[in-house]
Symmetry: D2
């Protein structure tokens, strides 16, 4: 398939690389052009703008940091909506607000373009192997057109609705579940450590009994190893996603007390200068609040 790919951060590069390996024809664009080099070397074509990356593509995929970046790259001057042909489909994998998702759907529809929201669960190594979980939403015809690409990205594709905003809402919920699981585990680790239990044993009991999901194992492991370095997803992004979750709760009149607790953790983390650390550092804050030296 002829695919445009826009946004080559850690996630974007991994996804694009995997699609290239799978034999698709890729045209790539990134704001800082050097990130495109490895893909170009591997056979991708480099575009000079998002619009150019979209010209002639059947599907254009975007992978960007936040609402502002998506708005600029899609709807700005030289944005991909300028280049995308009628009948072609934009697949948005970024975690953005349901509100912007609705605006994108409208803007594309006016030009006869399709828009499929397709946020993903998984970190870059899973992306590089096509092992992501993909939750897609969009008008049925657009989803059908994009299906080969969507299935190529993930080990599992869930089509969750016809309104793109629904996929983004569900993605925000998944991130909320991750963040609040760290809070749960953080409270448990702090309490049991002060009660004299061995941290590794606690981790083993939990993750080999009722609490054995990837969310428990992956993030429990980071807490166990106190692996809070800057290599992962930073506090800044987690704070952004939590804000979007709370805004969705406000728009839909749904109280979300756990999300508010998590929100305050991110603010305290930023106040401590931890904004660039992996968001699992939330667990260290809990431990320190309980008087543990970490």
């Amino acid at each position: 398939m002829k695919i445009g790919f826009i946004g080559l951060g850690a996630m974007g590069s991994a996804m694009a690389g995997h699609l290239l390996e799978a034999g698709h024809a890729l045209t790539v664009w990134n704001r800082s052009p050097d990130k495109a080099a490895p893909l170009v070397e591997a056979g991708a074509r480099r575009a000079a703008s998002p619009a150019e990356a979209a010209v002639g593509a059947e599907v254009v995929i975007s992978s960007l940091a936040d609402d502002a970046a998506v708005e600029q790259v899609v709807l700005g001057e030289d944005g991909l909506a300028r280049g995308l042909g009628a009948g072609a489909v934009h697949v948005g994998t970024s975690t953005i607000s349901p509100k912007l998702s609705e605006r994108l759907a409208d803007a594309h529809a006016k030009k006869g373009q399709g828009y499929v929201a397709a946020p993903v669960l998984g970190r870059p190594p899973a992306a590089a192997q096509g092992k992501l979980f993909v939750m897609a939403a969009g008008e049925a015809g657009a989803v059908a057109s994009a299906r080969p690409v969507l299935e190529g990205l993930g080990q599992r594709l869930f089509v969750v609705g016809e309104a793109p905003a629904q996929a983004h809402l569900l993605k925000l919920c998944c991130n909320f579940l991750i963040f609040s699981t760290i809070e749960q585990l953080g409270e448990v680790f702090a309490l049991t450590e002060k009660g004299g239990l061995d941290r590794a044993r606690v981790f083993e009991v939990l993750t080999e009994s009722f609490f054995s999901a990837p969310v428990h194992k992956n993030y429990g492991r980071l807490i166990l190893d106190r692996a809070y370095g800057p290599q992962g997803v930073p506090v800044t992004l987690a704070a952004k996603d939590t804000r979007l979750m709370l805004e969705a709760g406000e728009a839909l009149s749904v109280p979300l007390p756990f999300a508010s607790v998590v929100r305050d953790r991110w603010l305290a983390a930023r106040a401590r200068g931890e904004q660039d650390l992996d968001f699992a550092v939330l667990a260290r804050q809990i431990a320190q609040e309980a008087g543990l030296k970490e």
Copy 2:
């Protein structure tokens, strides 16, 4: 092995039945004697008091509702500590406070008896098949003596420490993780339903991706099916466990904001007259607070 078994509620009966099937010699006691009938029919001997159930046993297992019941049955007149021989071991499977656990350990030690805390994870059907998760703590010799029984009860035995209170603390944490997972899922179900997503699809996406642990599947299923009837574990017991968790936090100076949110849910549930419903009814409270008709 010669085993005394005290407390034949849903969990106790299932565990006792399984041990009987496995060929152990059981002497059973329950406050209301009719609950003992099926086991006696199946070959168990009936005792007239906890003390009598303990006489001559290598191991006595207790399975009771709360601190008050355990204190009475173990340390009261005709309590099991009166009957238990020196060198024999009391295995306590109830979810009790770490504080009472310490008192039991002292009382047994003074009589030369062993005490192993062995709270379990799992509902009665798992107990009937020996598929529980058992987290045990106690002095090494006592654990060794009780090991055949502990392994008989569960699919997996975790020995988590030498102080019995540590097993009880960890069990409280497991229950807290269950309760707070219901809060997490309840917030997500309410928000996504108001956002127009299909509940069953949300359940599928979550439990077949990152959130696939038994805690997600079992309790997510109850929420999905709105199965809040009185057949399960009642709000009353969940409220009791949450209180013990918060008391442990207070004793050890560990702030537990999620546990406090859950606490208030139980109080509101009781104020609504839901004290005897399955504790998963917490999710209905969240939905109704968000204006959903349930």
Copy 3:
């Protein structure tokens, strides 16, 4: 003084009426023109647009509902910034975000106009008698020019800083203190009522001992009388102010757990259909959550 007055809701009309009585020359404008009639009858001149109301005025006062209204009326086509002369001052009494306050300050500065933020504490009857509390912030010269008007509006004028956004931030804090005092009192009324105490006696003890501020007496009285009708300030506005408070906390990295509790109360109130009731209705929510019939 020659004064333009823009926005004639309950608060605006009361303030404008008081200034007129005090002998100032007023030109007034309101989106729905009928609200201007009583003032015109009393001697005010009617303007056809915000810009026209500003032409020739030494000071223009705005009293509007939210950020969107202020932005439109100040910076929109025919906005007051178009009509205001160089050296004249815009006095903004609305409760808006510190962020918009900064933009207004910049926009006015570029035209040589002054901008003084002057949000007020008090309800319409206080406004009609010039008994408001006024907290003002702005460049010293602009504050000096506006001082006669600022002093005319209130029983007490506090100049709190040179950056207009500071006055708005403090005003958000005052509103937060009001909202969270209702939560405090609501928890106390619910608990003592369930404990068998007489509500009126509780009110008396509190407000005649340590808790005797206007915030306790005014809002405690509404709770005591269950006076939650639509005559007051609606839940919708309180929800907006709480959102601005939380956004300020996010911008400045300050965790605000009490504000989050209050936020969820407003969302639940809206989900119950109470958006147009007086915001003191929060106390009824607390009582009902505790199982009290109200």
Copy 4:
């Protein structure tokens, strides 16, 4: 009047001194006898036990730290209930649980003694001048007997019910209002300080407008001055009172989210080693969490 006085801490000594000055005949007892010396010098008689202090007294007043102390001093061997005559009245001024209050009422009733709960609001200097606020509850006859003493202790006497537990419940609520006001003010001070406002100006605006109660002025002043030294009421006692408040909420099924937030603050304070500082130190915790150096 012939008065026994038991418990001569800072509050007790101040109250006893004031009663002595007013011309009452006092017999005093304190666990560590040296605290009685100044009163004995001023004319009080020293008793060898609580029981002895009660013999022949018309009213015995107790002023003690917590439930355990009260239980020991009233109901223990040589407790005041042993010495108190039929028809005489025990006036309990300590902040204790409503539950213990009920037990005391029963125990006294069985001996034909009266029991009036009379917790007080105010610090030692107010006690020394008879300027406390006294909230009393008890059977009408007992209150009538004790009235001269109750009026002597305070600038204002509120009789709040016939069940002593009701006065204790209301006292817990007053303390909760104090604690949660510190949280309110702490959030506001942190936010406004990070927003560039002057702390003293913020204090002035608040306490001279809507937030002018003693609770605002007294505790706001401590925060303003960062006066968190060990001279005041320690975190330990505040944590105890908050626990009793939450237990009352649990007993009466009343969710109390603000009380839970405050609870976690005390636990974190203890974990930081601040248990002996004045409880207003809670505000410093808020400030530091927001990244302010205090």
